[in-house]
């Protein structure tokens, strides 16, 4: 548990020290995020060896104190967010095009990581509200870094995020009013399916769906991510939208009574399919590169939402592995895609997708990173996305009457193939390639390729991964 605590507090201390010393050195942030990664890895090892652990803050008895809970999945998420943060920090420091070097990006991104680690570890409803606020504010502050053009979308994102937090908070208040306890695992034992609980859970779910940009409430995401600087949109898409999803999963798999979960499962699963299809459809049609990648985030979250919905509907804990593999694979792939897209856009000097003609000649590595990341989003073997889709498909074939879900996944795959290969095919067009404005930044291209290769290698370590996610040895 000490390692997890170090992973939690280190970014917060770094942010405070950076502000106190008024320094904007990326190196300090890179070093500390490396240390955080090591601490997180150590906590993962620790939790694999001697099982889940709890830490009551201030040693107060359970109903009163906030409890930190270290499960294998939490430790894995700690490692995942530390890795993505390290990658984006190195990109922000190293890349020529990153506009975030001489701004407060460094302390803000450390705070973002700190609040995310606090969210992974905590198990208290109100504590989640405060971490969500911290996450939302940090994300909006980071989006606002890229100057005036981002203020409009940032403000809209902030207001909707505040509204969503208050919807969530009302749900928490009702749940507290009904059961008098704030800890999720204690709640799990006490809840039974009556109107107040149902309404409280649905309020919390709607609030979290808006914050995680899940399908019906995703409209703020494309504008916010497209106008944010590259490093920030990579962080947002890979990490920030995953926090609320984690809480949603804890709420429904641990907190809610089974009747409520079974009743709500199909609604979420259908929303997932709708996200897949509609998100993919708008990604297919948008002319702007970064909003294409943002819409693909909305679509890919559809997979996770569907896994969650089916997990609740069939009460099948094996689907946890599918849900979290989607999240991990999407996080890595999306970080690489956004970095690649940012580099392409900065070198070609245009936001449009049509400007990508002939990039396989001018910027082969960046385009290769984009394609490989796209491959994982589609779920081509042996990428992490494929593994997750395989685990999601397996329970679906138990009985034949699950065929609508299979058709949903099929459509989702084809549409995601559509918008990824729309860009890749364009890149092979050598009719009149668009020459890059100035010399492309080799280092940033290879950096963008790194997470894509990691996500493709994910399948090779699938055995320990699935063991961590479901706790059942292969």
């Amino acid at each position: 548990m000490t390692a997890a605590l170090i992973a939690l507090l280190l970014p917060l201390f770094t942010a405070l020290c950076l502000l106190l010393l008024r320094s904007r050195s990326g190196v300090l942030v890179i070093v500390t995020s490396l240390l955080t990664l090591l601490a997180a890895a150590w906590s993962l090892y620790d939790v694999t060896v001697n099982g889940p652990q709890w830490l009551e803050l201030g040693d107060w008895p359970p109903p009163l104190a906030i409890r930190f809970q270290l499960q294998p999945i939490t430790a894995l998420l700690l490692v995942f967010s530390a890795m993505i943060h390290l990658l984006v920090a190195v990109y922000a420091a190293g890349s020529q095009h990153s506009k975030t070097r001489y701004t407060d990006f460094w302390p803000l991104s450390c705070l973002l990581q700190g609040s995310l680690n606090a969210l992974w570890l905590s198990g208290d409803l109100f504590n989640w509200y405060v971490t969500l606020e911290l996450l939302g504010l940090a994300a909006v502050a980071l989006v606002a870094l890229s100057g005036r053009k981002a203020y409009g979308p940032a403000l809209n994102y902030l207001l909707l995020s505040l509204g969503a937090s208050l919807v969530y908070l009302l749900g928490v208040a009702l749940a507290y009013g009904r059961y008098g306890v704030l800890d999720i695992s204690l709640l799990g034992a006490m809840t039974e399916a009556d109107t107040t609980t149902r309404i409280a859970w649905w309020l919390m779910t709607l609030g979290l769906m808006l914050k995680a940009a899940l399908w019906p409430f995703h409209l703020w995401l494309p504008r916010a991510h497209a106008s944010a600087p590259t490093a920030v949109s990579a962080l947002l898409s890979a990490l920030v939208v995953k926090g609320p999803l984690f809480i949603l999963w804890r709420l429904w798999s641990e907190g809610a009574p089974t009747e409520l979960a079974v009743e709500a499962g199909p609604v979420l699963a259908v929303a997932g399919i709708a996200a897949l299809i509609l998100g993919g459809w708008s990604a297919l049609r948008t002319p702007w590169l970064k909003s294409l990648v943002a819409y693909s985030t909305v679509a890919q979250l559809g997979y996770a939402l569907m896994a969650l919905g089916l997990l609740m509907y069939w009460q099948l804990p094996a689907l946890d592995a599918a849900l979290w593999l989607f999240v991990l694979a999407h996080g890595l792939a999306k970080a690489s895609m956004f970095l690649a897209a940012g580099e392409l856009q900065a070198s070609l000097g245009s936001k449009r997708v049509s400007a990508l003609r002939g990039t396989t000649e001018t910027m082969p590595v960046a385009m290769f990173a984009f394609a490989v990341a796209g491959g994982s989003l589609i779920g081509l073997p042996p990428s992490g996305g494929f593994l997750a889709k395989w685990l999601l498909l397996e329970p679906m074939f138990e009985t034949v009457n699950h065929w609508p879900w299979v058709v949903g996944i099929l459509l989702g795959t084809l549409i995601s193939a559509g918008y990824v290969f729309r860009v890749v095919a364009l890149a092979f067009d050598r009719a009149d390639p668009v020459p890059p404005d100035f010399s492309p930044d080799r280092f940033a291209h290879w950096l963008a390729l790194l997470p894509a290769l990691v996500v493709w290698g994910l399948a090779l370590i699938s055995e320990p991964l699935i063991h961590w996610l479901t706790g059942v040895p292969l």
């Binding site: 940032a154 403000l155 505040l162 509204g163 208050l166």
Partner: protein, 91 residues
Amino acid sequence: MTQVLFYLILGVCLWALGLYGLLRLKESIRRIISVNIMGSGVFMVMVALAARSEDPDPVMHALVVTGLVVAISATAFALRLSVADVQEDDQ
């Protein structure tokens, strides 16, 4: 119809009003005000819940204090953002 229930319902109405305002209005300062109204609605529900036992529940009060500070910081940021967004238009 006890006092607690009256304030619970009042809190819920304020919350709904705030949500309605947030979704319907277009001018940013008014949307920020409606978010504040929504927040005070939730806080009223929480304080009413706290007033159920004769010596009021301190946990709820602590949570509402925390909520208030979060609300003020978010409002300050939102207002500065809306002002910066408008001002840049003029120069």
